[in-house]
Amino acid sequence: MTVQYEEIKSVKKAPDEEFYLPGHRTCAGCGPAIGYRLIAKAAGRNTIFIGPTGCMYVANTSYACGPWKVPWTHAQITNGGAVASGIEVAFKQLIKKGKIKDEFPNIIVMAGDGGSIDIGVQAASALFYRGHDVLFIMYDNESYANTGIQVSPMTPYGGNTTFTPPGPMIPEGKKLFPKDPMLIFAGGGHPAVKYAATASIGYPVDLMNKVRKGLAFEGPAFLHVHCPCPKGWTYPSDRTIDLAKLAVQTGMWFLYELEDGVRKWSRKVDKLRPVEDYLLGQGRFTHLEPEHVAKLQAWVNERAQVLGLNATLPPVH
């Protein structure tokens, strides 16, 4: 299925108007805040955001200084998908009955990794199953960041969080490998999902166009957006974009779309750089021994092969 949407050709040609304004309390170099700004810009004026509890709730919505120029509502960390479902059916009914004169709005859930794939997974799955016309965006900073950096299912193997501190008994910190939300939400188990994509704040034009494309599809769409977090990952705040790009260059993040289940790579990658290039300079990985790095490299290589990335892979030492 093809959809029509107004493509943004370059950063310079992106709309000037902002719908996520300055004045919030996010950290310097906050990846999710950069993501929010780009997403709001791409979606435009006729948009309603649902923000389940997470750092984009706590750091943004301080009473009377919320940064949104469009309607925004809180949802519990558990129920972004369900609240959005209720809003969607309400607009459809009220418009159908002539009780309101509104144009049907873009309805966007902005949920963190916990609110999407962990405690929020039931409500998200139900939204996708029922086929509501909602864009569900998972801004992924790979931890429960607003509570002080606790492990989430998206924390990479080897990540040091306050719940996975490395020590003599557990030298690698986090022992588990992350979930794959694209596979869970858009891997065929929710037939109503016709469009899903991964994106990264390191590639803003690609991200904005995926937002527009997801909104253009009728029914539910899913975006999984990689958003580095200086506080949680412990790196200098000016490295956010650099790390976002390095994640893609090393295969710690893959950029692709699933349209009607067919994978389309968003960037041509001939050769993946070794994962060390990404790990270096992030405090959360400084404790890793070569054997742990090798496990991560093996995981990246296996994912690249499973996803069918046609690129030269680094050796596993």
């Binding site: 004026r45 519990q76 558990t78 209720g86």
Partner: protein, 397 residues
């Protein structure tokens, strides 16, 4: 034209929902409330009702969907029973605090364990302190009428609070009864369209449910508290108007039955009041100076209404069809609230507690007779013989 109908309490509430043209409801199956959603689904399928019924992923989802719909400006409902109501526990405060006047139908049910379908009031009483307006209907007619009155009270711009229309599982939800379905015209006169002052609207953007600093929370909680108290006046006003318009006159808070000359009264809520009235008639014939008080609302709790009549009686026997383990007095929620309500009333009666009708059991005539005999012993002693009694477990007659 008013239509006479013979059906269940659940169907009666569905009739109310059809009359008020709800926009959104959210379903999830759990006995015994489920049949109302089956009825809604049927009416949507045959074109009688124009609303969206969302198949929720659970009760937590049901409440969340209704909450979202209400924020968007829709008249939204849902319903549940037993552990379904406690599964949704997270959402009671956000919905009331967000001042979203959704309506929840409760066909009450025991909480697990054991897995029991029977009526008990514990399920939604457990959720009583979040700012929801609610009370029990004693029959199908009252269920329909309470639903209409709740929409009117809850959606009032001065109130804006969610409501629970509670009824005893099986006794009201499932027993076929005669009731009247009012005219559409009258309902339209009684209940204006739902037009919240704020909704999610791109032309008038608002932020709902923001994070606040500690000193900003208490004023909002104070407001919720003030509105809950204000709801009492609204209940009186709406109950009177309902009576004028529909010809069915309810006591706003406390129904009195054969209290003329009564020295002792049962105090209870819900369907067991029907059996109680019949038992009171027999007891009066047998010489017991007994009457009955039935509560129509537990939130807001009608303390002033009780204070106004308490001194007429010497003994009040509060019957709780639910549990509150470890509560003051060893009985249930109604015992605690009743004692608290009249604690400072001059010439206050002795208040004793009974726990009865648990697990969906009928409270039989025999049990009412025994409770009356225990109250008579209190009357004779002029003081409590036993603070509270689980009928059939530690009776003192």
């Amino acid at each position: 034209m008013t239509t006479k109908k013979r059906s269940t309490g659940l169907t009666a509430v569905c009739d109310a929902w059809q009359l008020v043209d709800i926009d959104v409801t959210a379903s999830y199956p759990i006995r015994p409330y489920t049949a109302v959603m089956a009825e809604v689904a049927k009416r949507i399928a045959n074109g009688q009702m124009k609303c969206e019924m969302v198949y929720a992923e659970g009760e937590h989802g049901q409440f969340s969907i209704a909450h979202g719909a209400s924020m968007a400006g829709a008249r939204a409902t849902t319903g549940s029973s037993g552990v379904g109501l406690t599964y949704a526990a997270e959402l009671y405060s956000p919905i009331a605090g967000g001042r979203c006047p959704i309506q929840v139908l409760v066909g009450d049910r025991t909480l697990d364990p054991p897995g029991d379908f029977g009526s008990e009031h514990t399920d939604c009483l457990t959720m009583r302190d979040n700012g929801w307006i609610f009370g029990w209907a004693q029959d199908a007619q009252e269920a329909l009428d309470n639903s209409l009155m709740c929409f009117r009270i809850g959606e009032d711009p001065d109130i804006m609070l969610p409501q629970i229309v509670a009824m005893d599982g099986y006794f009201v939800t499932h027993i076929t009864q005669d009731y009247e379905v009012p005219d559409q015209d009258l309902v339209d006169r009684f209940l204006p369209p739902f037009k919240p002052k704020f909704r999610l609207d791109v032309n008038n953007p608002v932020i709902m449910g923001p994070q606040i600093t500690p000193e900003m929370g208490p004023p909002l909680e104070w407001d919720r508290n003030v509105v809950m108290q204000r709801a009492k006046g609204k209940i009186v006003e709406v109950t009177e108007e309902f009576g004028r318009l529909f010809g069915r006159h309810y006591a706003p808070f406390v129904e009195e039955y054969m209290t003329e000359g009564a020295e002792m009264v049962f105090l209870l809520q819900g369907a067991h009041a029907v059996t109680c009235k019949s038992a009171v008639k027999y007891l009066r014939e047998a010489g017991y100076p007994v009457g009955m008080l039935r509560l129509r609302w537990v939130r807001p709790f009608p303390e002033e209404a009780l204070q106004a009549i308490a001194a007429k009686f010497k003994v009040i026997g509060v019957i709780d069809t639910g549990t509150s383990y470890g509560a003051a007095g060893g009985g249930g929620v109604l015992l605690v609230e009743t004692r608290a309500s009249i604690s400072e009333t001059p010439d206050k009666p002795i208040v004793q507690g009974f726990t009865s009708g648990l697990g969906g059991e009928v409270i039989t005539h025999d049990e009412f007779f025994r409770m009356a005999e225990m109250m008579r012993k209190t009357l004779e002693a002029g003081q409590l013989v036993q603070s509270s009694t689980w009928v059939n477990f530690n009776d003192y007659v």
